[in-house]
């Protein structure tokens, strides 16, 4: 363990600005931590040794050139995000050895900010999974207890931040893939409002849900990352110009007298009782700080997973049609074109990917599209409307992030039981809402408190999480 790797982004920023250390020293500290822990945890698929030191040196040459809070800070990137010149596999064999010819918009923004991209993190294949075990390059392990999973799909990003192998990381959240692993690893994970951060250059899983966001050690660090990444991008038609939030603005909304809704559906009997108790204590702490707690009813919550597992596979089946073994990635040569496609895709994709592609093919096929896909999109609207109605009466909704804590590797093998790990995170995803997971005080393995706000209230959600974090650590 070295002292520099343990710093938060905010602490490292202050140290760089004071001249206590250089970006190179900071980067070398993080690289040393990766050398010491990655062989056990498998959080990184690729460590960008020389380019990261070159970026650190570029910062050190003229620090005053940069004004962004992330300048000179080592940041890890989930391997579903395109990085020009750095291998990008999305955790899949079908993209083994693929090196993108361009950067995702979020990577351009990090590079322009002067951030140091330190490497690419492991993930469930094409972001499909909730345990981090579903990568073609081996499972990631939880730094808190390496016999357990870190959660997923942003498994490597959460593990890297929790083990001080990155000061911050980018993850992606389709149904909970930032919040759930952040909760299970004891770090902060923020899913911004859908459309706040450009998806250009994100390897698509389910385009109507995929969202890029930060996994960090503190809420203030998450605010710094969201501030740098957000803003409209002409290359993503679903991105939109939200008012530009500075990191400070994201943390400084007035939180006095807020009404916080607590839905009973997020405290089922079958959940880990210690997690339920910790969440209730966290909500009591918010009340003690002046919030009014309002019990609310979100009866459609129980349907969210079913909606999710129709809509996501449908989008997956069309988004992953592009992997044909002709244009990029793995190629299993065959005489005929059809054989070429089939051989490449059968050898290149893992089981969960094949399952979702076939499910989506089924639910979009003639005779079933109305019954499954169309019906799911209608129930999705009902879920969205249910949240809108709730937000007429409350400012923020507070829930546990996950019903359980990190489980043992290999414990949940059947697909359906793994799907249930996302039961508390998929509803907000379907409605496109901003949601954050922040660690709660709890004995033993970590667990997160989830705060959900109305669309475009990212600043309110983060400000409240920031205050909660300060009270919880006091």
């Amino acid at each position: 363990m070295n002292d520099l790797a343990q710093l938060s982004v905010t602490e490292a920023r202050a140290g760089l600005d004071r001249g206590d250390f250089s970006s190179r020293e900071l980067t070398e500290g993080v690289l040393a931590q990766i050398r010491s822990r990655n062989s056990e945890l498998n959080a990184y698929l690729h460590v960008s040794l020389e380019p990261s030191l070159a970026a650190a040196d570029a910062y050190d040459e003229n620090p005053k050139r940069f004004t962004d809070p992330l300048a000179g800070i080592p940041i890890a990137v989930k391997d579903t995000i395109m990085t020009c010149g750095l291998p990008t596999t999305a955790g899949s064999k079908i993209l083994a050895g693929y090196v993108p010819p361009y950067d995702a918009t979020v990577i351009e923004r990090l590079r322009d900010a002067g951030a140091v991209i330190i490497g690419k993190t492991n993930c469930d294949e094409f972001a499909m999974g909730a345990s981090g075990e579903n990568s073609a390059y081996g499972p990631t392990r939880n730094p808190v207890d390496p016999t357990r999973v870190p959660g997923g799909s942003s498994s490597g990003s959460a593990a890297a931040v929790a083990a001080d192998m990155a000061m911050a990381a980018l993850g992606t959240d389709t149904g909970g893939s930032i919040r759930q692993p952040a909760g299970l690893c004891g770090v902060v994970g923020m899913r911004p409002t859908y459309g706040t951060v450009s998806r250009y250059g994100l390897i698509a899983m389910a385009s109507s849900l995929d969202t890029i966001g930060p996994i960090t050690k503190t809420v203030a660090d998450a605010a710094a990352v969201v501030s740098t990444l957000s803003g409209a991008d002409p290359r993503d038609a679903t991105s939109r110009e939200s008012k530009h939030w500075s990191a400070d603005a994201l943390l400084s909304r007035d939180c006095t007298g807020l009404k916080i809704g607590v839905p009973k559906q997020y405290f089922p009997e079958a959940m880990d009782p210690a997690v339920a108790a910790a969440a209730r204590e966290a909500i009591d702490a918010l009340a003690a700080a002046g919030a009014t707690i309002v019990p609310i009813d979100l009866p459609l919550t129980d349907l969210a997973l079913a909606v999710y597992y129709v809509i996501v596979p449908a989008e997956v089946s069309s988004n992953l049609a592009r992997y044909d073994g002709i244009r990029y990635g793995m190629s299993a040569a065959a005489e005929s074109l059809t054989e070429h496609y089939r051989r490449t895709r059968s050898q290149g994709f893992g089981d969960e990917v094949k399952r979702r592609i076939m499910l989506g093919t089924y639910s979009l096929s003639a005779g079933y599209a109305d019954k499954y896909y169309l019906q799911a999109t209608k129930v999705r609207r009902l879920i969205s409307n249910e949240f809108s109605k709730a937000f007429a009466g409350v400012d923020v909704i507070a829930t546990p992030t996950s019903p359980h804590r990190a489980f043992k590797l290999g414990e949940k093998l059947d697909p359906l039981s793994l799907y249930l790990a996302d039961v508390f995170t998929t509803p907000a995803s379907l409605a496109g809402l901003p949601a954050i997971s922040v660690p709660m005080p709890i004995t033993g393995l970590p667990a997160g408190l989830q705060l959900i706000g109305p669309r475009h209230s990212d600043d309110l959600v983060m400000s409240l999480a920031h205050r909660y974090e300060q009270s919880a650590s006091a």
Partner: protein, 93 residues
């Protein structure tokens, strides 16, 4: 809500996947379980409800067409090329 092995075989063909006999059996069972799980949606009354697709209003602005990457960088990622073109197995036989 079960699905037959024959249907799974057909889905695999539509999705350009080939499955071994044991995979076919396994996927038939798993897809059947997932379809049973999602069939709870059938009981929801959605009369008069408009479907929700993309959540953000699409921007209506258009951008100019522009070459954003050079051909060589793209060709470098192509598994098989010939004379600066992407090579594929014969399409017409």
């Amino acid at each position: 809500m079960a699905i037959s092995e024959k249907e799974v075989q057909n889905l695999a063909a539509l999705a350009q996947l080939e499955l071994s006999a044991s995979e076919q059996k396994k996927f038939t069972e798993e897809l059947g379980q997932i379809l049973s799980f999602v069939s709870q949606l059938q009981s929801v009354d959605t009369t008069g409800v408009a479907p929700e697709g993309a959540l953000a209003p699409m921007t209506e602005g258009r951008r100019d067409e522009a070459v954003v990457s050079d051909n060589q960088a793209i060709l470098d990622a192509v598994p098989a090329t010939e004379g600066g073109a992407v090579k594929s197995p014969r399409i017409l036989t």
